[in-house]
Amino acid sequence: MLKTHTLIILVTIALGLLQGCATPGASAQLATQGRSDNTISAGTLATVGTCEMDVAADWTALAMSRQRAARSLRAKTITVQQALQVQLLADSARQDLEAACPSTKAQLDVGRRDAARATLRQIAATLEKKP
């Protein structure tokens, strides 16, 4: 008899293997027989083929890069010019992230996501330059 967490891990691995075959946007639904001991009774697991979690970290990095620029400008460790450059680059990265994953049910555009990441690296380099 499998423990609950072992069962969840096995199901997650199985769904991961199935992801390549999944219809984009389809939900994976898993139901098991409910038992009086602590097995899972039913649940809809993470939707396969959607992009939002693929870009969540990048969106966060984008916001944090702007926050860092604002802090650095206020601390006078970067120039206004550097801050303006960061804002422009961040706007460009945002456009790529929007295109990479325009909606919850969309499939990830890897090229646009990678373009955003390249721009985020440029922003980091801009913030590293001494005024």
Binding site: E52, M53, A57, M64, R74, A83, A90, T104
Partner: protein, 54 residues
């Protein structure tokens, strides 16, 4: 992902989950929350630039 980024993502997801539950929805609008996060950061940077005479 750095620990700080992970905490920021987690906070955005929690806020989105709270909002979904308050609206009686079973779908979390993660992207909307992430966009709002960047909107706020953009506005703050714009304010900092303006204050610095930019």
């Amino acid at each position: 992902m750095t620990p700080q980024q992970a905490r920021t993502v987690a906070a955005a997801l929690m806020a989105a989950a709270d909002k979904a539950e308050a609206q009686g929805s079973d779908q979390v609008e993660t992207l909307a929350e992430l966009r709002a996060l960047d909107d706020a950061a953009r506005a703050d940077l714009a304010a900092a630039i303006k204050d610095a005479g930019g």
